[in-house]
C-alpha cells in the first residue's frame, strides 16, 4: 500500500513553504532572521569543522604545550596561526570552538531527541490509554520532576563511572550527558503531548478512525501524533538551548565532556581557571559563542512558539 503523491498540479514543497503563514511571520521578524542565520552559521561551521578549522585540536599529536596560552593574534604576543589564541594545552581557541560547538550541538540534539522520543511515546500512551496507565505514567513524571537535571546528571555520571569504571571516558561522557539531560526533559514532552492527546483523541477525526476499526497504535501513530507535534517542536527548540547550557553547567561541575575533546561548556570551565590570570580569551570566546548560539536558538524557539500559536497571531 504505497501512497503515491501526485503533486503534478500541486504547488511544490518550496512554494508551499513560502506561501505559509509561518514563512510570512518569519520574514516579518528581522530578529528571527538574524537568529536563524546565526544558528545556521554555527551549525554549518560545526558540521564542517574538519574542513574549515585551521587545525584539529582533537589530534593530540599536533598539539604543542609550548604553543599554550598564546593570546589572540591581534594582542601582543599573539601568533597568526591562532587567531583567537590558544588554551592551556596549546589548542587553538578558534578550532576548538568549531569542534566544541559540534560536541555541544551533538549533546543538545541527542538529548532532545532522546527526551522527545521518550516523552512523546509516554505522553501519547498516557493520554490515549487514560485510566491506570495514565496515572502511573504521570506519577512517574512527578517523581522525575523532583530530580532536577543537575541531580540526575550527578547521580548518573557517578553511577556510570562507578559501575563501568574502566570504559572510555570520552565515549561514555557523551551518553551520560545525553541520558541525564534527556531524562530531565522528557516530562515536559510527556505532559504536553498528553494534554494535546486528550484534546485530539476526542476530536471527531479520531473517532472516525476508531469507527473503521483501526488499531489504537495505528491511530496514535498516524492520526494523533502528527497533530500533537506542534508544541513539541517549540519545546524541542527551547530545550535544545537549555540542553546546551545544561551540558555547559555539568561540565562546570566536572561531570561533562572531558577536556581532551572539549565542548563549549568544558572550554568555559577550563578557561574559568584563567580568568583572573589574564588569559581571558580561553573563556570569553567560547562563552560568547555559547551565548550567541543559545540566544539564537532561543529566539527561534520564541518565534516558533508565537508563530504556531494561532491565538497570538
Amino acid at each position: 500500500m504505497s501512497v503515491q503523491s501526485q503533486d503534478a498540479q500541486r504547488p511544490g514543497f518550496w512554494t508551499r513553504i513560502t506561501d505559509s503563514d509561518i514563512w510570512y511571520s518569519f520574514k516579518r521578524s528581522k530578529i528571527t532572521i538574524v537568529a536563524a542565520i546565526v544558528t545556521l552559521i554555527i551549525f554549518l561551521s560545526a558540521l564542517f569543522a574538519p574542513l574549515i578549522a585551521p587545525h584539529d585540536p582533537f589530534d593530540l599529536a599536533t598539539l604543542s604545550l609550548l604553543d599554550s596560552l598564546t593570546p589572540p593574534a591581534w594582542e601582543e604576543g599573539g601568533d597568526p596561526r591562532f587567531l583567537l589564541g590558544t588554551d592551556d594545552q596549546g589548542r587553538g581557541i578558534l578550532s576548538t570552538i568549531l569542534y566544541g560547538s559540534r560536541i555541544s550541538l551533538a549533546v543538545g540534539f541527542a538529548s532532545v531527541v532522546f527526551a522527545a522520543v521518550l516523552g512523546i511515546s509516554l505522553g501519547l500512551l498516557a493520554g490515549y490509554a487514560g485510566g491506570r496507565t495514565d496515572s502511573i505514567i504521570m506519577r512517574i513524571a512527578d517523581i522525575q520532576l523532583t530530580f532536577p537535571a543537575i541531580l540526575i546528571a550527578l547521580l548518573i555520571d557517578g553511577s556510570v563511572r562507578g559501575a563501568l569504571g574502566g570504559i572510555d571516558r570520552e565515549q561514555s561522557a557523551f551518553y551520560v550527558l545525553v541520558v541525564s539531560i534527556g531524562l530531565s526533559f522528557w516530562v515536559q514532552y510527556a505532559r504536553t503531548v498528553r494534554s494535546s492527546t486528550l484534546v485530539e483523541k476526542n476530536k471527531e477525526y479520531v473517532q472516525a478512525a476508531r469507527l473503521i476499526g483501526l488499531h489504537p497504535i495505528k491511530i496514535m501513530a498516524r492520526h494523533v501524533l502528527p497533530n500533537v507535534m506542534g508544541p513539541v517542536l517549540v519545546i524541542a527548540t527551547i530545550n535544545l538551548a537549555l540542553a546546551i547550557i545544561t551540558e555547559a553547567t555539568l561540565s562546570f561541575l566536572g561531570v561533562g565532556i572531558p577536556p581532551t575533546q572539549p565542548s563549549l561548556g568544558t572550554m568555559i570551565r577550563i578557561g574559568n581557571d584563567f580568568l583572573f590570570s589574564g588569559e581571558w580569551w580561553i573563556t570569553i570566546f567560547p562563552g560568547i559563542t555559547l551565548a550567541v548560539l543559545v540566544l539564537a536558538v532561543n529566539l527561534l524557539g520564541d518565534w516558533l512558539r508565537d508563530a504556531l500559536n494561532p491565538r497570538l497571531r
Binding site: 476530536k203 471527531e204 477525526y205 473517532q207 469507527l211 473503521i212 476499526g213 497533530n227
Partner: protein, 330 residues
C-alpha cells in the same frame, strides 16, 4: 418499508462520574452515575431517515456512538440487520463495521488536518480492503469527490483549504467510501451556515435516493429534522419520550415536552399557535427528577408524574411516554 435494519432494544448507557474513592469516603458521598441513555428502544427501517431530536445533553450523541460501536452499552442490545452487534467475532465485526458509517458535527474537527483529502477519504477503503478496491482507490476517491460535488483534483489538498460546507462534503465522501448501508449523522449541519446547510441536506437526500441509504439523523433543530426525517424520536434526559412519523409529530405532538419544543422554536413563519412561555431549563442529568424527568417543567404534571416513570405507549402511529396523554389530561 417495514424491515428493520437497525434495532435498538432497551439500550442504556451509564457514565461513572463519581469522585475518587478517597473523597467519597471522607465526604460520605455515594458513587455518582450519569445515565446518559436510559432504556431506549426503537428501530430504524431500511431506507428511512430516523431522526433523534432533543436538547443538549439529552443523549443524542451517546446513542449515535453506541450504535456505531464507539461506546459500549451498559445494558441492552443493538441489532444490525438482525445480528446482535455485541456478540460478533472480530472478523465478522470487521465485516459489519464496513456496513455503517458516521458523519460528525464539526467539519473542522472531523478531518485530520495533517492528511491530504484523498488519504482521508481512502482510509476506510484501505482499512477494509474492500474487494480488491485497494488497488484502484485513487480512482474511487476521484469518483467519490465528484459524487459529493467536489472536483477530483481536490484530493491532493489539505482540509484547511476548504470551507466548512466543502469539508462536510469530504466527510460525507469518506463515509461513503466504504459503501455503507447505514449512516449515522450527528448534527451534520449545525456548524454550517443556512445556505450551505441547504446544500448538504439536499446532497444527503440525493445520496439516499441514489444509494438506498438508511440514516440515523440527529439534530436539535426541529425544522431541519422535519425536513429530513421519515420518523422522529424525541429525547429528554436520556429517555425517549415520543416516537412518531415526521408529519404526525409536527401536526399532532403528544408529549408535553414535544409541544414545548415546538412552541419554543422561532420560525420564519410565525405559527398560528399562541406561544407559551417555556419554563425552566433542562435539569442536571446526574440527579434527574424522580418519576417523569420532565415533571418540573410540565404544566400538566400531577403526583403520579412525580413518582412513577411513564413508559412509551402507542397512540395511533405515535408512541409517547406520558401519563397526561395516557390519562387524557393533555
Amino acid at each position: 418499508m417495514t424491515e428493520a435494519l437497525v434495532s435498538v432494544e432497551n439500550l442504556s448507557r451509564v457514565f461513572d462520574v463519581s469522585k475518587p474513592w478517597l473523597n467519597r469516603v471522607l465526604e460520605r458521598d455515594e458513587k455518582k452515575f450519569l445515565v446518559a441513555v436510559n432504556d431506549v428502544t426503537f428501530e430504524i427501517r431500511r431506507g428511512e431517515t430516523f431522526a433523534l431530536v432533543g436538547e443538549s445533553g439529552s443523549g443524542k450523541s451517546t446513542i449515535a456512538k453506541l450504535i456505531v460501536g464507539l461506546l459500549n452499552p451498559s445494558d441492552g442490545q443493538i441489532r444490525f440487520d438482525g445480528k446482535s452487534v455485541a456478540t460478533q467475532s472480530s472478523a465478522s465485526m470487521r465485516q459489519l463495521r464496513s456496513r455503517f458509517q458516521m458523519i460528525f458535527q464539526d467539519p473542522f474537527a472531523s478531518l485530520n488536518p495533517r492528511w491530504r483529502v484523498k488519504d482521508i477519504i481512502a482510509e476506510p477503503i484501505r482499512t477494509f480492503g474492500l474487494n480488491g478496491e485497494t488497488v484502484r482507490w485513487e480512482k474511487r476517491v476521484d469518483e467519490l469527490l465528484e459524487t459529493v460535488g467536489l472536483s477530483s483534483g481536490d484530493g491532493a489538498k489539505f482540509p484547511h483549504e476548504f470551507s466548512g460546507g466543502q469539508r462536510q462534503r469530504i466527510a460525507i465522501a469518506r463515509a461513503l467510501s466504504a459503501k455503507p448501508e447505514f449512516i449515522v449523522c450527528d448534527e451534520p449541519t449545525s456548524a454550517l451556515d443556512v445556505s450551505v446547510q441547504a446544500q448538504i441536506l439536499n446532497l444527503m437526500r440525493d445520496l439516499q435516493d441514489e444509494f438506498g441509504l438508511t440514516y440515523l439523523f440527529i439534530s436539535h433543530d426541529l425544522s431541519v429534522v422535519r425536513h429530513m426525517a421519515t420518523r422522529i424520536g424525541v429525547l429528554y434526559l436520556g429517555r425517549l419520550v415520543e416516537v412518531a412519523e415526521g408529519k404526525t409529530l409536527f401536526r399532532d405532538p403528544q408529549h408535553p415536552y414535544t409541544r414545548m419544543l415546538l412552541d419554543s422554536v422561532p420560525d420564519l413563519e410565525m405559527t398560528g399557535r399562541a406561544r407559551k412561555m417555556v419554563e425552566g431549563e433542562i435539569p442536571n442529568p446526574i440527579d434527574p427528577p424522580s418519576g417523569c424527568a420532565f415533571h418540573p417543567r410540565c404544566s400538566l404534571a400531577n403526583d403520579r408524574c412525580r413518582t412513577e416513570m411513564p413508559e412509551l405507549q402507542p397512540y395511533g402511529s405515535t408512541e409517547a411516554a406520558c401519563f397526561a396523554v395516557e390519562e387524557g389530561r393533555a
